[in-house]
């Protein structure tokens, strides 16, 4: 029984460990890129060639730190928030063809399921901000909810466009159809839907220029203000897991997944999503933060109408190419 359980859970442990390792070094990568952009060096002395032990030191330190909790907070929800965020952002990876032999990718609705699961993160964020009984956390999660819910619409629509053209909601078919030409190169629709996807993915991942829920100048550090130690580490890691998930998603839907120029392999997905992630980091360190009303107005009055028009065009294209 126990042996069976072990052999069943081995791939799960494997993938979670790999994922956490990758994500820990993504934090390191971001610090390095940020330093490079500000003509600094970045982590260097902790682990001699370029601070390679830095993620380990950070994680161990956060683990050994005091676990403080405001006395007026709701302790059940307060502890539940970070765990929920971490579990949800990790379990979304079960559906990504990160390992190509992953059985889930050929499920007929795998893309749909991925979106459904990853949009549950907001529950954890809201719960943690609400239960910390801190005004900054509360304002932060209210912003967060407004932002994430409204940007979900263009995100989903921009992902629907390739699905309509390909005619399937499963990752397996989407990857299969990009064998010869990546979706980003399909004229017109590919580029526009990628731009919409990129903007709303930044907003979904709470990144600059849309990181309103963590605006240090206004809200201390947003919904994580009251969290210390390992719980903060969970939030910190979950943010990067989510971001990496978005990068993997983008490289699968728009950049052909494992289909490289010469070879087809899992490693190609990782490389592509690392490039995608680097691009997101570039955006983060070169832009300013916009106001919440600008953010929402931009979404509801520009992004959503445009994405609906593009969706309509995609439908018409499909109709005329299939049925005429």
């Amino acid at each position: 029984m126990f042996i069976e359980f072990l052999s069943f859970s081995k791939p799960i442990f494997q993938s979670i460990t790999t994922l956490i390792l990758i994500v820990a070094y993504l934090v390191w990568l971001e610090r390095k890129i940020a330093a490079r952009m500000q003509s600094r060096i970045g982590p260097y002395l902790v682990g001699k060639p370029h601070g390679w032990l830095q993620p380990l030191a950070d994680a161990l330190k956060l683990m050994s730190k005091d676990d403080s909790k405001p006395s007026s907070s709701d302790s059940l929800l307060f502890n539940f928030g970070p765990i929920w965020v971490m579990v949800v952002s990790l379990s979304a990876f079960a559906l990504l063809p990160f390992y190509f032999d992953n059985p889930m990718i050929n499920a007929s609705l795998s893309l749909m399921l991925f979106i459904a699961i990853s949009s549950l993160i907001i529950v954890g964020i809201f719960v943690s901000g609400w239960s910390s009984s801190n005004k900054y956390s509360l304002i932060s999660v209210m912003r967060s909810v407004a932002q994430i819910i409204s940007y979900e619409i263009p995100l989903v629509i921009s992902l629907l466009i390739p699905c309509i053209l390909i005619g399937s909601l499963s990752f397996g078919d989407i990857i299969e159809s990009q064998k010869n030409i990546w979706f980003i190169f399909s004229p017109g629709l590919g580029q526009i839907s990628f731009v919409i996807f990129f903007i709303s993915a930044l907003a979904e991942g709470n990144r600059i220029p849309f990181d309103l829920s963590e605006a240090e100048s206004e809200l201390v550090s947003g919904y994580t203000t009251e969290y210390s130690g390992i719980k903060f580490a969970l939030f910190y890691l979950a943010e990067y897991v989510h971001l990496f998930g978005i990068s993997v998603l983008g490289s699968i839907i728009f950049f052909g997944g494992p289909h490289g120029p010469f070879i087809t392999s899992n490693l190609i997905i990782v490389i592509k999503s690392l490039v995608f992630f680097t691009f997101i980091v570039f955006v983060r360190w070169s832009f300013f933060r916009i106001r919440i009303d600008q953010l929402l107005r931009f979404n509801w009055s520009k992004l959503i109408p445009i994405s609906f028009v593009v969706l309509l065009i995609a439908c018409l294209t499909k109709y005329f190419s299939e049925f005429n």
């Binding site: 610090r31 970045g42 902790v46 001699k48 380990l56 161990l60 330190k61 730190k65 240090e216 203000t225």
Partner: protein
Amino acid sequence: MGNVEKSLKDIGSFTKLPGANLFTTSTTKLFNWAQKSSLWPLSFGLACCAIEMMATFASRYDLDRLGMITRASPRQSDLMIIAGTVTIKMAERIKTLYDQMASPKWVIAAGSCAISGDHYRHIYSVVPGVDWVIPVDVYVPGCPPRPEDFIEGIMELQNLISNGKISPTYNVSTGGKNQIDIKKTKTKKQKNLIENKFINKNELLNYASQYKNKDFLYLKFITATDFEEGLTLTYVISNTKLGEDMEFHVNLGNSLEIDSLSELFVGADWQEREIYDLFGISFSGHPNLKRIMMPEDWIGHPLKKEYDMDTHNSPYRPTREEYESWKTKL
């Protein structure tokens, strides 16, 4: 492999076995190493030293090399760098922030002001050394300490952490780095002062509004001086179009009341509050005459000659006796 071995050396030790390397360490050592390698400071600064601290974080000196990134929330930060003059009003905030930090937490007092109050230590509103408020681990002297000194202080703190002991008084010697290049500074001459005279207290409003009609729209400052005979107020207003200033003084004598100029010049509002706060002159007609700098429950007006230094009401200032004994100890 050589590099890896080298970088793991200060965490634990390697043992060579046939066909393998064995790496051993103790949890204390491991966690001490982790804590010293990722000291996240709370991002706050108090005075001029903070500018130097920011320079230490920025590109040329780059504290991120040591694994330090600033955190905005005290819950997630391990290190508090007191960079600047600690005033009594700020001391309470510092105490709150320190209490909010999750342990293990360390404090570096950077700059002479944070260590002892330096040249401001005799001033009524300054705490003579932040160790009146919170325990300090490392002192970094200098006014301000150079970024190298900051980094040296942080490295001392890292040594303390990895040795597992923290002593409350620990000095970093700067090794003769404090050579100051004294340059002669030229005092600016005031060019366009067209008038400078004493006026009567009753004609102040008339006089000011008369000049306001002549395009003297900008009130540069109001200040008060306590001469032995009584208080004198000085006003400077200027015509920004022509670049002309005019200055007038009012002798208050024994009275402590004068008309407020805040109706004529909006900028007078805060300056009159400041004068009320520090000298106790009340301005009749002022919309909101409250203390602006000192805490609201402060007793007395500290810039007056008759103000007694011992009438403090803060736990962070020593009494006169404590102060004298402490000074002789030094």
